[in-house]
């Protein structure tokens, strides 16, 4: 079992959903990122999504867009992102690490180069916002050959007719984008999330993670009761935005509130 599968299995054995947390690499600067990643782990994050900054993050709302611009503004390069990943892997050998970003920075030196870098840095998976299944050939085959998952996204507009295309080649986990929209904005109604997760579970054995618009421990807990993973991004990125270099303890405190909310109720009463 690879790191991602082991982590989802371990969370399942504990009767809880995995907490997946996102920050943008190099935000506010490259030097500050390792401590922020450590704070995510210390706060109880199970899986880390590390954002690769891009000048034109068109699927992101203001919080993550600003994080991208802060990162690039402070001089973050792609080589820094892989250095951050390599360093993280050395200190956290068992915590899955996912790179998330846009196609152009990933493909500018060729998909082979990118896949090699991912493998060498111990990256477990990649989420590429603007590579839909129709363009999988750009990135998917080389990543999979390198043993790196290309995580697929399902959205409220992905209907039953289209879902098989999304699942064909999907691996690692399936990321359910709970709202038709950009990151960090409105949250979907719990009922619609439940319905969507039910449909996805019927169609695949992959773990289902739910993200977009999840900002509070209460929301995370509600989603955690039905999904295998809960993704929180913009709310953490906002904390980094407010506290900059000094963000790590604030990040850890907030992430701990999320991970605490995901603990199974029986365990809570027992503790």
């Amino acid at each position: 079992m690879d790191r991602l599968a082991s982590r989802f299995a371990a969370c399942k054995a504990q009767g809880r959903a995995a907490l997946i947390t996102f920050v943008t690499g190099g935000d506010p600067d490259v030097a500050a990122t390792p401590a922020i990643l450590d704070a995510l782990v210390a706060g109880g994050a199970d899986i880390i999504e590390l954002g690769m900054p891009f000048t034109d993050p068109m699927a992101d709302g203001p919080a993550i867009e600003l994080a991208n611009l802060r990162s690039l503004g402070s001089g973050t390069k792609t080589t820094h992102i892989f250095a951050i990943a390599t360093d993280f892997r050395a200190r956290h050998p068992d915590t899955p690490l996912i790179l998330m970003g846009y196609a152009n920075p990933m493909l500018v030196r060729g998909s082979g180069w990118f896949a090699d870098q991912c493998k060498a840095a111990g990256v477990d998976g990649v989420i590429c916002v603007d590579i839909p299944p129709e363009e999988d050939g750009e990135l998917g085959p080389t990543l999979r050959a390198a043993g790196v998952h290309l995580v697929r996204l399902a959205t409220p507009t992905t209907d039953a007719a289209r879902l098989p295309a999304v699942l064909n080649g999907a691996s690692g986990f399936l990321y359910h984008v709970s709202v038709a929209g950009i990151t960090g904005k409105q949250q979907a109604a719990q009922a619609s999330i439940e319905l969507a997760v039910e449909k996805l579970k019927a169609a695949t054995d992959l773990p289902i993670a739910v993200g977009f618009g999840v900002r509070t421990p209460e929301q995370a807990a509600a989603i955690g009761r039905i999904a295998d993973g809960v993704v929180v991004g913009s709310a953490i990125v906002d904390i980094v935005g407010s506290h900059g270099d000094a963000a790590a303890p604030f990040v850890q405190h907030f992430v701990a509130s999320l991970s605490g909310a995901l603990l199974p109720r029986t365990q809570e009463t027992a503790a």
Binding site: L107, V108, P132, E134, E138, L153, T155, R162, G181, I182
Partner: protein, 413 residues
């Protein structure tokens, strides 16, 4: 300039089923948008096969846009260039008068077509991005014509620079949304239009202003703009009894150029020149994606982009807001790679010069975009024999640019 192409199939049969023009084009969008653009592709195929759709489009182009617009022999420009050329040299120059369309540019052709598609899909709200405001005005115009709700995303800097067009759009009933993100110019207005669209896919149609974006946009925008080349072909046959030797058009995203070129792609005797904005020079700030960029992915398509070694998009610059974009339509990237169309850079200062030349010699004030094509023709015509024929696409009128030009020339208004 008469390269013959020995590819087996028609050059007019692109893109393939997945929207690729050779290695370019495609559909690089978030999953949320995929079902919608697949639906748009289906509706467009249906519309193309429906004679009623074509008839309505043609009628609106006639009675509302004012087509066909003339193919005009620019005698004074031709003679002025011959006077500077060697004996027997100096090609004959015609202007395709897209600037005489309603709203003053070629943009309206595409907007009418897309509004018809929006109506066919049952969408009552349209959005668009705009740089200088020309596409915004054209979209607001068709929204008024079709009784649709309209939002225009425009970089905050451009809102400030282009106040008359902002007011025009408001008069036409559109809401203008200033975009503050990124560099607050055209590419950022496209980012924000995409952000809005992804959040409102159920009831909103995105009228993209140029032959770029995810498939099927580059194809359908080209098809709607191809009226330019079809008319030119017929008008030239009537005027001269033969096809032109060369077509010259400005290229930002490239919709007017592809509209002129496409009906001639399979005529090897017709040379084609796309004119990119070289801004302050290719070694300085410019907007020439082919001359100074590399293949990459942005705004839904693979195409040539201005970018750094990490794939970060770099800022474009041109005195012409319509050319001030760090990318180019994917079909142009393909035509460039196979060599069917030659692309040449023209600088701000050269365009400014030709802006004035055409105004004085022909009594036609060209848009700064079109002035780039005039500048290219001024360089090329004197090198060709006098019996050769050039057509310049005069894609828009220059009224919108008089403030920019006055500023650049240091003139008091």
């Amino acid at each position: 300039m008469t390269d013959t192409i020995s590819l087996p199939n028609s050059l007019r049969s692109q893109p393939d089923a997945n929207g690729h023009f050779g290695a370019f084009g495609g559909r690089y969008v978030a999953e949320t948008l995929m079902p919608l653009i697949i639906e748009l592709e289906r509706v467009y195929k249906e519309a193309k096969a429906d004679p009623a759709f074509d008839a309505e489009f043609a009628e609106l182009l006639r009675s509302y846009v004012g087509r066909p617009n003339p193919l005009y022999y620019a005698g004074r420009l031709t003679e002025a260039l011959r006077a500077k050329a060697a004996p027997g040299k100096g090609a004959k120059i015609y202007l395709k008068r897209e600037e005489l369309n309603h709203t003053g540019a070629h943009k309206i052709n595409n907007c009418i077509g897309q509004a018809l598609l929006a109506r066919r899909m049952g969408k009552k709200k349209v959005i668009a991005e705009t740089g200088a405001g020309q596409h915004g005005v054209a979209t607001a115009t068709v929204a008024a014509l079709f009784g649709m709700e309209c939002k225009i995303f425009m970089g905050a800097k451009d809102v400030e620079r282009q106040k008359p067009n902002v007011f025009r759009m408001k008069l036409l009933g559109a809401e203008v949304i200033p975009v503050h993100s990124g560099s607050a110019t055209l590419k950022d207005s496209m980012n924000d239009a995409l952000r809005y669209w992804v959040s409102n896919v159920h009831d909103t149609f995105y009228i993209i202003g140029t032959a770029a974006g995810p498939h099927p946009y580059p194809e359908l925008v080209r098809d709607f703009q191809s009226i330019i080349g079809k008319e030119t072909r017929a008008q030239m046959l009537e005027a001269e009894g033969r096809l032109p030797d060369m077509l010259i058009a400005p290229v930002g995203g490239g919709s007017n150029a592809i509209g002129l070129f496409h009906p001639f792609l399979d005529d090897p005797e017709v040379a084609m020149i796309g004119v990119e904005a070289a801004g302050e020079g290719l070694d300085k700030k410019h907007a020439a994606s082919l001359a100074g960029g590399a293949s990459g992915i942005l705004h839904g398509n693979r195409t040539y982009l201005l970018q750094d070694e990490d794939g970060q998009i770099t800022e474009a610059h041109s005195i012409s807001a319509g050319l001030d974009y760090p990318g180019i339509g994917p079909e142009h990237s393909w035509l460039h790679e196979i060599g069917r169309v030659k692309y040449m850079p023209i600088k701000d200062e050269e365009a400014l010069e030709s802006f004035q030349t055409l105004s004085k010699l022909e009594g036609i004030i060209p848009a700064l975009e079109s002035a780039h094509a005039v500048a290219a023709a001024e360089q090329i015509a004197p090198t060709l024999d006098a019996d050769k024929i050039i057509v310049i696409n005069l894609s828009g009128r220059g009224d919108k640019d008089i403030f920019t030009v006055a500023d650049a020339l240091g003139a008091e208004m």
